[in-house]
Symmetry: C2
DNA sequence: CTAAATGCCGTACTTAAGTACGGAGTCAAG
DNA sequence: CTTGACTCCGTACTTAAGTACGGCATTTAG
């Protein structure tokens, strides 16, 4: 389960810039593999998925430090603080899903309206995220 | 349906900084009401909802310019470009929801694991956003 | 075995999204 | 009718998340 990528291949496979990989390492989101003294580092191919996860989670509105916390859950399902964190993130995720569902419904309605020619109606997309 | 807020009250009601309101005006996300010559502007209370919408949509990973496009749909359900835009956003939203659902399932499983004491299992949150 | 491509690393620049500031004008409570 | 809070506007600063650069080392394709 390794396949040993260079940083350039890793970046390419994950669809990001090499500098981004290095940035994530500095941020502690990605560990940097030990460097063979006077040589180049090699990356396990699982790292590709890790980077993609980061990018996707960002697209869902999570910051890099939230993502760091989520990734930490991956290796530390132990203590009870972890459970609490997971539960909090879960609530946040459910909130986001609800907001998205509301937007989806409005946009769906809008598309349908355009299709059926029932023209001029207001499309109250804003009305949708109003709770809270 | 107005109630005429000052910029300060609008900002407070929406839970943002006054400067943020002004920034959104500059970005064209919020129109600035006409200024009574040599006086202060007044804002209709609907604007509160508009600002909240912007904030929520940001939390869902939309950029301000995407949000501008979504808001534009609100007043322009007319042409066929609009329909296309709405349909594209709809697909994006569905993608986001699917990603969130996957994360939710993993986190839910994690919480349940913690609860039932079935300790050391790996929690493959990353595995979850791997498609694509 | 050499040349072009990569990698390493530190530092500096960029972009998006705000936030802060300063000086002048305006509003509103006492 | 004054005083303190608020508004206006322009400009400048900040933070998060990258991106670029430059000089040197190493790797790899021909």
């Amino acid at each position: 389960m390794a396949a040993d990528l260079t940083i350039g291949k890793l970046a390419e496979a994950a669809g990001v810039n090499v500098e981004t990989i290095r940035y994530y390492q500095r941020r502690g989101l990605l560990e940097e593999p030990p460097k063979p003294p006077g040589g180049h580092r090699r990356y396990a191919s699982e790292q590709v998925r890790r980077v993609r996860f980061i990018k996707r989670a960002q697209a869902l509105g999570f910051t890099l430090s939230e993502i760091g916390a989520l990734l930490a859950l991956d290796t530390a399902c132990i203590c009870h603080d972890t459970r609490a964190l997971a539960a909090r993130k879960l609530a946040l995720i459910e909130q986001k899903m609800a907001d998205l569902a509301a937007m989806r419904d409005v946009l769906g309605g809008l598309v349908r309206q355009c299709d059926t020619g029932t023209g001029q109606t207001a499309c109250p997309i804003i009305d949708v995220l109003t709770r809270g």
